[in-house]
């Protein structure tokens, strides 16, 4: 039985500009797009004339769902936006709500959040570079990088209980403190990572095949990148040292020593190199943070959002009521609106939250870097070869979870 399926998209063009033009459809389920994205391209021979990029295949109504759950219950949802660096989403969302509630987190929590954000950024960049290199045939480099990523996932599982989606942030603090011996293992992983990223540098940096495939491909200038809303490693690869960690310091970044690596011409090679250098900088920050960590509480002492100690819940009526109210009604957030942004692994990750008071948000909007990047990615695809779509797309690191929400 044949079933005529309706087309979920309407391409911007179905005819080419010239007689020799061919229209091809790439995706949404193509092994080389690693992400559910559809690209309709007009080709002239092997050259891409223009592209029409469609996303939305992973849309699951994140923002609608947010409007019927308590502020706390959203934390597992925000994890699933950028699932390669879920902790950054957690902390960015919690920070937005904390701004509305006028909460200042404890120094230990601030340092730990910074440390874990950088740790997640490493995992995210490793994933991006590993996938992009594998698509160019560099299987060894892929295995080196993914080995380290897996150490990080296992290590984060020891902290949070999950490998990928951690649900570890809490409004006003964190789910739990780091377990015994966790920081020691952290140092071991970082040392091992230095060895492996060093090997990848040796395999890839001056490799003729890699340079031919990536140098001067997908070139983007700074002014153009800003016009099309690019942020994060893509904007920095064009030579602009724009980084929210430096420009509008949040968490502990003002106290840390780090550099903002930039590229020279904004091509695929620069995007690879900027990410590799950012991994080094993140490791440098983590080592500083380990030394800065002082013992102390990880949660603020605020009964509007932080759960009371379990022993008190079982032995004291006020704490029992407090616990009950926090579960049933949610944290009480005063009316107001805030836009709070952090430097996600892919760029500016912003949360625009509106509260009308009470335990449930009126609106939660996520400004996700991947979605904005998809609006400008045609600038990096048009004019290059069909085969360049795959490495260029890999260097953009589109994450379907945060793009389509």
């Amino acid at each position: 039985m044949s079933l005529k399926l309706p087309n979920p998209i309407r391409p911007a063009f179905d005819k080419g500009g010239t007689d020799s033009a061919v229209i091809v459809n790439i995706g949404p389920s193509h092994p080389a797009t690693h992400g559910t994205i559809q690209i309709v391209a007009e080709l002239d021979g092997e050259r891409v004339v223009r592209t029409d990029v469609h996303c939305g295949y992973l849309h699951r109504g994140f923002e609608k769902e947010c409007e019927s759950h308590t502020w706390h219950n959203l934390i597992p949802y925000v994890d699933r936006l950028n699932y390669c660096s879920a902790l950054i989403n957690d902390f960015a969302y919690c920070e937005a709500v904390e701004k509305l509630m006028d909460i200042e987190i404890t120094p230990r929590c601030r340092h730990l959040r910074t440390l874990l954000s950088e740790y997640s950024r490493i995992a995210d960049h490793l994933t991006c570079i590993a996938a992009a290199l594998m698509e160019l045939g560099a299987m060894t480099a892929f295995l080196y990088l993914v080995t380290i990523r897996d150490y990080i996932y296992e290590h984060l599982a020891a902290l949070t209980g999950a490998r990928v989606t951690y649900s570890y942030g809490r409004i006003g603090g964190l789910a739990n403190d780091v377990p015994e011996g966790w920081l020691k293992r952290l140092g071991e992983i970082l040392d091992e990572m230095d060895t492996f990223t060093g090997r990848v540098h040796g395999l890839v940096d001056r490799n003729r095949i890699f340079i031919d495939r990536t140098r001067d491909v997908g070139v983007l200038g700074t002014a153009e990148a800003i016009n099309w809303g690019f942020t994060g490693p893509i904007l920095r690869s064009t030579g602009a040292a724009r980084d929210l960690r430096k420009d509008t310091p949040y968490l502990s970044y003002a106290e840390l020593d780090f550099e903002v690596p930039v590229g020279i011409k904004g091509d695929n090679y620069d995007r690879y190199y900027v990410r590799m250098r950012e991994i080094d900088e993140s490791a440098h920050m983590i080592r500083q943070l380990v030394d800065m960590l002082e013992p102390g509480p990880i949660n603020v002492d605020d009964r509007r959002c932080v759960f009371p100690e379990k022993t008190l819940v079982y032995n004291e009526i006020e704490s029992l009521i407090n616990h009950f109210k926090l579960v049933m009604e949610g944290p009480q957030v005063p009316p107001g609106e805030v836009y709070s942004a952090q430097e996600g692994a892919n760029g500016e990750l912003g949360f625009y939250v509106v509260s009308v008071g009470g335990g449930v948000p009126w609106k939660v909007h996520c400004r996700s870097p991947s979605f904005v990047h998809m609006g400008g990615v045609h600038r990096m695809l048009d004019g290059y070869q069909l085969a360049d779509i795959v490495p260029t797309f890999g260097s953009v690191n589109m994450i379907g979870g945060e793009c389509d929400r």
Binding site: A12, H54, L100, G350
Partner: protein, 147 residues
């Protein structure tokens, strides 16, 4: 130029007349250096007339500050000017806001569905759109057990 200017949690918020949007944003971009268009979305207040707030965020990559612009539009004519002439990135984000709230961006010639699909009816982030409503593009198959 603004009807009302406030500071909310450290961000300057300008409430403007929808008709003055292009004029205000042009000043922000050309005179005040807000060179990056960050975001556009809307907030639905079903009890209020005009019903929607359209909310834009801009960022200055040189001065490292953000500004929020808000304009109120009514349900019967939720139209504002498009900013695609000033910022390339507005094109995609306006499509999303059109999908979700039905805000019409005058001058954006490409308001095709982006996160939703062709033929989707309604605007899911409006408060009167039921959360559980389904519009399957392909009909559900009856399971073996129910046959």
């Amino acid at each position: 130029m603004a009807e009302e200017a406030t500071v909310a949690h450290g961000t300057l918020v300008l409430l403007i007349e929808p008709a003055r949007l292009l004029e205000v944003v042009r000043t922000l971009k050309d005179t005040l250096g807000f060179d990056m268009f960050l975001d556009v979305t809307a907030v639905d207040w079903p009890e209020r007339n005009p019903r929607f707030d359209v909310v834009w965020h801009f960022y200055s990559t040189r001065q490292h500050v953000r500004v929020r612009i808000k304009a109120r539009v009514p349900e019967r004519d939720p139209t504002v000017d498009s900013l695609i002439g000033l910022y390339g990135s507005a094109r995609y984000m306006e499509r999303e806001c059109h999908d979700m709230y039905g805000i019409v961006f005058r001058g954006n010639d490409d308001l095709r569905p982006i996160l939703l699909y062709e033929g989707f009816e309604g605007h899911p982030l409006r408060k009167d759109y039921p959360k559980q409503k389904e519009q399957p593009l392909v009909p559900y198959r009856a399971s073996e057990a129910r046959k």
